[in-house]
């Protein structure tokens, strides 16, 4: 008997977003459709102003699209430009992990607490949250820096702590905004290998905005955005 087809973790159906009206109208996204499956690491490329970050914000449920529909982890969350979930914050907390260009760790929390914070926000008690945070830091090979404050971490270490934070609630969708922009090529490679490992082992979908050509070979598919339009199908990288 043939295996049932795996549903996509992220399904975008003709998502559009415009800012302003009339002469000042800017179409940031024009009917973008995209499916991202478990275990896939997807890149969004495009020149400045092409709509990459806008698309990431829509998928991250922090920007209202003008029209279109979206499913996250099999759940329809957007229908014809209207959010179906009344609590987008909880949706983000449960389903989406974020990785930022400059790690965006909370500067007054040490590495462990930066990770544990997300777990406590999800309802775990302090002890359980710290235990899980330490496991994640060890998993990302930065456990030896568990007590370090963000300012004392190297760029690579900080980004690994940020990835640990993004993975804390076991989200199946991880959105990364230029995750390697602040890293040299060696550390950028290490971070991308970690993300690939996470995608495969946790069957997560990773969507990253990047300009970093050095890491293109780490992606399964590369989509290009230009003037708010996504190229058809995306370039499949053969590795």
């Amino acid at each position: 008997m043939a295996d049932a087809p795996v549903p996509p973790l992220v399904r975008l159906d003709r998502i559009s977003k415009h800012f302003g009206e009339g002469e000042t109208r800017i179409d940031a996204l024009r009917e973008v459709s995209l499916d991202v499956y478990p275990g896939q690491v997807v890149a969004l490329l495009g020149p400045s102003g092409s709509g990459k970050t806008t698309l990431l914000n829509v998928i991250g449920c922090i920007l209202d699209p003008s029209s279109g529909s979206m499913e996250l982890d099999g759940v329809r969350v957007l229908q014809d430009g209207q959010w179906l979930s009344p609590n987008l914050r909880q949706l983000r907390l449960d389903k989406i992990g974020f990785i930022f260009q400059f790690h965006n760790l909370i500067p007054f929390l040490d590495a462990t607490d930066n990770v544990a914070l997300v777990l406590q926000l999800a309802g775990l008690d302090a002890v359980a949250a710290r235990t899980r945070a330490l496991e994640l830091l060890d998993y990302l090979e930065v456990g030896h820096r568990r007590s370090a404050m963000p300012a004392k971490l190297s760029g690579g270490e900080a980004q690994r702590v940020a990835i640990a934070r993004a993975l804390a609630n076991k989200p199946r969708i991880i959105l990364a905004d230029e995750p390697t922009a602040a890293l040299d090529s060696k550390r950028a490679g290490i971070v991308m290998d970690l993300l690939r490992k996470v995608a495969v082992e946790q069957e997560a979908a990773i969507i990253a905005v990047t300009h970093d050509e050095k890491i293109f070979d780490r992606f399964d598919r590369i989509f290009s955005l230009r003037d708010g339009r996504l190229d058809d199908g995306g370039l499949t990288v053969h590795r």
């Binding site: 970050t53 990431l56 914000n57 991250g60 922090i62 920007l63 914050r89 909880q90 983000r92 907390l93 974020f98 930022f100 260009q101 400059f102 965006n104 909370i106 500067p107 007054f108 929390l109 607490d113 544990a116 914070l117 997300v118 406590q120 926000l121 999800a122 302090a126 404050m149 934070r165 905004d177 230029e178 922009a181």
Partner: protein, 377 residues
């Protein structure tokens, strides 16, 4: 996980420095409130010291503090004979400038009859005046100590006792001497002037003049009724203790009181603005972190709690520093600083409310932060 505490601990030095700055400001506000209260208390101290019910003064004057008053000393006997009067005493008040230890010293000299109302309310050190002449009880704020000898007019007085907090409305320390000494000091002319007066045939008149006669009444006696009786003697006025205190606070120190009151109000407003500014700035510096918190799913209450708790901690620590500072240095002020628990509590309450309102500004800014600003570097 208490984010407010973690943030404070991370930038402890800066936070404490801000608290110290705020503490100094609140300390100044407390000091001004204390000076304001002290001015009123000082103004009333001398009037309350004899613990009397009625002040008999020169007709049509509001003496002896607000206006000059001179009446014959024997009025005391007439007042003492009024049915409801239990005790009466003659009293004089005058300001004298003298020298002590090479420094100028302004003293508020009170002359009283040793066995009658008008003397120092209590002796903190030493003893009361026992001899008829040339002994003095001085307030500690004068800098005089027991055994000191000081010249007033043509005579040298020995300090035999010390009082505390006995100053006039201008802050000049009070000294108590016997009525005859005070009368000599106030009314005796220097020998050359006396010779001139004698030559003109105007010398030799009685010097038994006083500034006021004070009276204590029997329990249940009406001060107003006794005052009315005295009014019938056309050459005298009578002021009840209540009216005397009103004259002192509403007339004598009114301008100074209002000036300090207005300045204190302005300081409070300035403090409120500065507190608001500090808390708002503290929040604005964290906007990126707040955006990140919102993006990773922190509920609004977590962010609100962080801002409000920090604002209250800032206000509480600043207030504690300010209050501690002022309570430790208030006795070194040239004028009395009177801080009652209710003053401190009210200011504490004001600081609490200001911090709460100020954090409202920060909370408003924080809640308006778009979580998307955490993305995009």
């Amino acid at each position: 996980m208490n984010l407010a505490y973690r943030d404070i601990r991370h930038g402890l030095g800066r936070f404490l420095l801000t608290c110290v700055g705020l503490g100094l400001l609140l300390g100044v506000v407390l000091a001004m409130i204390g000076i304001y209260r002290g001015l009123v208390v000082d103004a009333l101290t001398i009037a309350r010291a004899p613990a009397v019910d009625l002040w008999v003064v020169e007709a049509n004057t509001r003496g002896p503090f607000a206006e000059a008053s001179r009446i014959p000393g024997d009025i005391r006997e007439a007042v003492a004979r009024i049915a409801d009067v239990s005790a009466a005493g003659s009293i004089t008040y005058q300001t004298v400038e003298t020298e002590h230890g090479g420094d100028k010293l302004r003293l508020y000299v009170i002359g009283y009859e040793l066995t009658r109302p008008g003397g120092p309310p209590q002796i903190a050190e030493g003893r009361a005046i026992a001899r008829s002449h040339y002994e003095m009880v001085a307030d500690t704020s004068s800098g005089l100590t027991l055994g000191d000898r000081i010249r007033l007019g043509r005579h040298v007085f020995t300090v035999v006792g010390l009082t505390r907090h006995q100053v006039n409305s201008g802050g000049d320390p009070a000294v108590y001497i016997t009525l005859p000494d005070a009368q000599k000091l106030q009314f005796d002319l220097a020998p050359p002037a006396m010779r001139v007066q004698l030559a003109r045939g105007t010398g030799g008149s009685s010097r038994d003049t006083v500034n006021a006669v004070i009276a204590r009444l029997h329990a249940n006696a009406s001060a107003d009724a006794v005052a009315e009786t005295v009014h019938r003697w056309k050459h005298l006025s009578a002021i009840t203790q209540e009216a005397q205190e009103l004259i002192l606070t509403r007339s004598l120190v009114d301008r100074a009181r209002r000036q300090i009151g207005l300045f204190t109000s302005l300081l409070l407003v300035v403090s409120a603005v500065i507190i608001a500014l500090i808390i708002y700035t503290m929040t604005m510096e964290k906007l990126k972190q707040i955006a990140t918190l919102k993006l990773i799913g922190a509920p609004d209450r977590t962010i609100i709690a962080m801002i409000v708790q920090q604002a209250l901690a800032l206000g509480f620590i600043g207030f504690a520093i300010g209050a501690t500072l002022i309570f430790n240095i208030k006795d070194y002020f040239p004028r009395r600083v009177v801080l009652e628990p209710d003053n401190v509590m009210i200011l504490g309450l004001i600081v609490f409310v200001v911090c709460l309102l100020s954090s409202g500004l920060g909370v408003r800014a924080a809640l308006r932060v778009d979580p998307a600003t955490a993305l995009g570097g």
